[in-house]
């Protein structure tokens, strides 16, 4: 008999322990009587005491569920009231923050002159940690809201929140914008070579040695981009093939910039010398201070490289986003 008594006692204790102290004694007594009644009914039907108790407790089920019923606690982490708000916020944060952390961590490590492996490793570790933190803390806030029965108005929806319909077809504006931008780029290249942007000095910013081959390659890329923009307009929108070509063109441009930048061939050495002289003592002092990171010019080169890379990545992502949107009905 002792073991059977223990089972019921254990069941009641497990149910009661998570209830408010003032409700515990009452529930304990009532549940004890109910279980005893049920066991008694089974004994009268001819069951053995052990079987009867086991059957009754099994029917009552997990004491955690029973306790949640008594305490009117939810048996879910985030219920329908907060789920969508939680999910939207989480998506928004995950779209913005990890990318920023990734770029910032990589930029910092590159400026500090870390080896490539370390740059990649520490950027990935920082980004992974950020993702975990975002998921955990956002969810925790909503779990607390759910548990405290908060009645904040963040879950109210009204029609003004409906998202704008995104335009699927590429507009004429997009085409004109691309062509004008590419035209300006060509103009700037030629102007830089022939006249220079610095008043009173005919000093090109880009290395004159890049002419004709490297610049020719760049002009080819620009021409390809222009043809590409017209093709998109003619075909009436983005497709997987178009997005692939866009990705290849963008990566080609990135490769062009990075190779020349890493070889130190992109910028005119005379222009750098001119800039250092024009900077005067202040520049020299700043350069000395930054010498541990390879000097101001190296830092500027790193920042330029990251800037171009960020622009290229965005261009590629934008193409794929438009493609996916268009495929959705």
């Amino acid at each position: 008999m002792t073991t059977t008594a223990t089972l019921t006692e254990r069941y009641i204790a497990a149910t009661v322990k998570s209830l408010r102290p003032d409700a515990q004694d009452d529930v304990r007594a009532e549940l004890g009587a109910s279980i005893a009644d049920a066991i008694e009914a089974r004994l009268e039907a001819g069951e053995s005491p052990t079987d009867a108790e086991r059957a009754v407790l099994t029917q009552l089920g997990d004491p955690g569920i029973l306790a949640a019923g008594y305490a009117e606690r939810p048996l879910h982490l985030i219920g329908p009231r907060f789920y969508l708000t939680w999910w939207r916020l989480l998506k928004l944060l995950l779209m913005i923050v990890p990318v920023c952390v990734l770029v910032a961590a990589a930029l910092g490590q590159t400026i500090a002159g870390a080896p490539v492996g370390e740059i990649i490793a520490s950027a990935i570790v920082a980004t992974g940690g950020t993702i975990i933190h975002i998921c955990f803390w956002t969810t925790l806030v909503f779990v607390v809201l759910e548990r405290t029965g908060s009645s904040t108005s963040i879950d109210k929806w009204d029609v003004d929140q409906l998202p704008e319909l995104t335009e699927n077809g590429p507009g004429r504006n997009e085409l004109i914008g691309s062509l004008v931008f590419l035209g300006l780029a060509v103009g700037a290249l030629v102007w830089d070579r022939l006249r220079g942007f610095i008043p009173a000095e005919t000093l090109p910013i880009l290395n004159p040695d890049l002419w004709p081959w490297s610049i020719g390659l760049l002009l080819l890329l620009i021409a390809a981009e222009a043809v590409f923009a017209i093709v998109i307009f003619r075909r009436g929108g983005w497709t997987v093939g178009v997005a692939v070509v866009n990705t290849i063109l963008a990566l080609a441009f990135l490769a062009w910039v990075l190779v020349l930048l890493l070889r130190g061939e992109l910028v005119n050495p005379d222009f750098l010398a001119y800039a250092v002289t024009a900077g005067g003592d202040g520049f020299a002092a700043g350069d000395a201070e930054a010498s541990g990171e390879g000097g101001i010019m190296r830092i500027l080169a790193v920042v330029l490289g990251f800037g171009v890379a960020a622009g290229v990545v965005w261009d590629i992502a934008d193409g794929w986003i438009k493609t996916v949107r268009r495929r959705r009905p």
Binding site: L31, A33, D37, I65
Partner: protein, 110 residues
């Protein structure tokens, strides 16, 4: 397939247990006794649903309770309060109008 059917039936029955309790407890009753009576009257309910439900209705003041220590086993007896009787009447009216509405639906069908 059976699971889907069960869910639909459960959805339809949800709420009837409250009404049945309020009606039955016009004469005082205790947990296990009420469970048996509901079962025999065709309102089969799980014990782990009924016991918390009784306390919830008590908290909402539709039921009153009293410990009866006259017998060897002390039991908590519940009784429908005046507010509980009014609630039971409202729910019964609602049930009747639903029944009438469903009758007209099936009548049109034939």
């Amino acid at each position: 397939m059976n699971e889907i059917l069960d869910t639909h039936l459960q959805e339809l029955r949800r709420g009837t247990v409250v009404l049945a309790c309020l009606q039955l407890l016009r004469t005082p009753g205790y947990g296990y006794g009420l469970l048996e009576e509901l079962e025999s009257r065709g309102f089969a309910t799980d014990a782990n649903t009924l016991y918390p439900l009784l306390r919830r209705l008590e908290k909402q003041e539709y039921l009153t309770s009293e410990w009866n220590t006259d017998e060897a086993r002390p039991r908590k007896f519940y009784r429908t309060s005046d507010a509980g009787i009014r609630l039971a009447d409202t729910l019964t009216d609602e049930w009747r109008s639903l029944t009438a509405a469903i009758d007209t639906l099936t009548a049109e069908e034939n």
